[in-house]
């Protein structure tokens, strides 16, 4: 039987406010353990939380970017559970009256765009961070755990999608799109590896063409887009095999094991699954009037979907448009390069191809590499003017990334400038023609295909520096 995956994703995004959600402790990755803590975020008796107004605006911005409506009134609730990284034994979250409700995000996979519903976006606080001590840092094999409460109370937004996602690839694209939006809004650094953006997926299968949902499994512990896709592919296969064998899927939470490439069922030592939500008595409701909402809405910059549409209009292919629109740094360099006269598709191809590969190899983010819009525009201009071949342009890019200077300097230093000077090329061409009488004869008899071979010979004789277009012209002149 063919099964259709039904996937919903919960994404948590830490906000880059200065201070925490309910107290004045600093927000920041990498501070010494247990230094950004106070009576409020440690849940000491008598401490009272106060909402960070900026965090509310950031949350509204996310909601508006995801086409949600903003509730006129929303309230905070206590979500009660026992876990060592939760000093208060409850998390302040939102429950039945969240800030943002009912939106959507358009997601592109390949050339197809699908609209994924957003159930809600709500505000809450992050928990502390646990380090599991023992075999491989795995929670299940740990002998004990160490807790750092610096992260406890950091403003955290939870974005809940509708179960509209139908493949692992689409799940990955959804998260990538959401991440792109959050980055463009500037409300989070959304670093997957540092955990400032995290996601859990609910996965179930149903026979293709049927409506009712199957039993869902929650998959956790994926910390890259690649591991999200791998984990979901694995989980979809696992459930399909169970159903195919006539077994049933157990409703449970499974952890993705990156090294083993499998999901593992987990059993909690605690059984408190009833969160006993109730309104947080220490915090008054949040009221958003139209004026406030509109003020936040007006400050929202161009989002990936809008940038993508604009890039498509500029003539970019959908893959390049998608990649560049989702990455703030790439988007900025691309825009600068085109504004400085670079050819859009050429610049896009370099960014998504050669530049990405070079940066990955040197493990440098684009923003701190010497590649900028001016460099790409200059390079594009040199190729356009026939001063660089396409392959020489790649060498020049490598030189620029390696910090050897701007494109013109690198091209000169690496001796890559293309020779289009007729006087300089004629002797080389004449020599090649003299040495290839048979090919020249064929060309004279009208066999045009052979000209490519002759151009290739000239390129070789010139050490790859001859301008093929000029060479073609001269050969045609000589032979006619």
């Amino acid at each position: 039987m063919t099964y259709e995956p039904v996937i919903g994703i919960e994404t948590h995004v830490e906000l880059t406010t200065e201070s925490k959600m309910f107290c004045g402790c600093a927000v920041g990755f990498g501070a010494p353990p247990n230094t950004n803590v106070c009576p409020v975020c440690l849940g000491l008796p008598g401490a009272l939380p106060v909402v960070n107004g900026r965090a509310v605006e950031f949350a509204m911005a996310i909601g508006l970017a995801l086409n949600c409506s903003i509730a006129h009134q929303s309230v905070f609730s206590r979500k009660n559970y026992f876990y060592p990284d939760m000093p208060k034994n409850y998390q302040i979250s939102q429950y039945d009256e969240p800030l943002c409700i009912g939106g959507y995000l358009d997601v592109q996979t390949g050339s197809e765009t699908r609209r994924i519903g957003i159930t809600r976006v709500h505000m809450e606080e992050d928990t502390g961070k646990s380090i599991h001590v023992g075999e491989g840092g795995r929670i299940s094999a740990a002998s004990h755990s160490l807790i750092d409460f610096n992260r406890a109370g950091v403003p955290l937004m939870e974005v809940v999608s509708e179960p509209d996602i139908r493949s692992a690839e689409e799940a990955r694209a959804f998260v990538a799109e959401l991440r792109g939006a959050v980055l463009r809004l500037g409300v989070s650094d959304a670093k997957l590896e540092e955990g400032s953006m995290r996601f859990d997926a609910n996965v179930s299968l149903r026979p293709k063409g049927t409506e009712p949902f199957g039993t869902k499994v929650e998959v956790k512990n994926m910390n890259s887009l690649r591991s999200l896709q791998r984990a979901l592919e694995h989980e979809i296969d696992r459930q399909a095999a169970l159903l195919e064998a006539g077994d049933s899927v157990l409703q449970e939470t499974r952890h993705w094991d990156e090294a083993a490439g499998t999901t593992l069922g987990m059993r909690s030592k605690e059984e408190a699954f009833d969160y006993r939500y109730f309104p947080e008595p220490d915090l008054v409701p949040v009221e958003v009037d139209d004026a406030w909402r509109d003020r936040v809405g007006e400050a929202i910059p161009e989002l990936p979907a809008q940038a993508r549409a604009r890039y498509l209009e500029m003539g970019l292919d959908p893959t390049a448009a998608g990649l560049i629109s989702r990455d703030v740094a790439f988007g900025a360099v691309f825009e600068d390069a085109v504004a400085a006269g670079g050819v859009s598709q050429t610049v896009a191809n370099w960014l998504t191809g050669e530049v990405t590969a070079l940066l990955r190899r040197s493990e440098t983010p684009l923003a701190s590499s010497p590649i900028d819009g001016a460099a790409l525009a200059e390079l594009s201009g040199m190729v356009d003017a026939g001063r660089l071949s396409a392959s020489a342009a790649k060498d020049v890019l490598a030189g620029v990334v390696a910090g050897e200077g701007n494109p013109a300097e690198v091209a000169r230093a690496r001796d890559l400038v293309q020779v289009s000077d007729i006087a300089a090329l004629e002797p080389i061409i004449d020599e090649v023609l003299a040495g290839n009488e048979e090919a020249v004869g064929k060309l004279r008899r009208g066999d045009d295909k052979v000209i490519g071979f002759l151009i290739g010979q000239v390129m070789r004789a010139s050490g790859g520096k001859a301008d093929p277009a000029v060479v073609r012209g001269i050969i045609k002149d000589r032979v006619s």
Partner: protein, 105 residues
């Protein structure tokens, strides 16, 4: 208190041992019995309130007519780490140390 013990209208069961375990409290049999009775009274009262007809009554979780009590996004001073860790039952260096959390299936 004694008065309430004698007019229990709605018997409510509570697994006091489980509550104690979750709260990491080591209680004696005597204490368990005492706290069970006290908690039962509280729960009974809650059950009595819950049974009242409240259709059309507005919730009073936030009785003050106030909204939007915000603070500015400004960093303030934190506690001293040594002072904080001194409250922990166990520590390892600069971290709180806690027993293992999950078992493998």
């Amino acid at each position: 208190m004694a008065y309430y013990y004698h007019c229990r209208l709605m018997p409510v069961d509570i697994d006091i041992g489980k509550v104690a375990r979750l709260a990491r409290l080591a209680l004696s049999e005597d204490e368990l019995n005492r706290y069970r009775q006290q908690c039962e009274v509280v729960l009974e009262h809650a059950a009595r309130v819950q049974a009242l007809p409240t259709d059309g009554v507005t919730g009073t979780s936030h009785p003050l007519p106030r909204t939007n009590a915000f603070r500015d996004d400004i960093v303030t001073e934190c506690l001293d780490r040594e002072e904080v860790l001194a409250q922990a039952p166990e520590r390892d260096g600069d971290y709180f140390l806690v027993p293992r959390i999950l078992d493998e299936q």
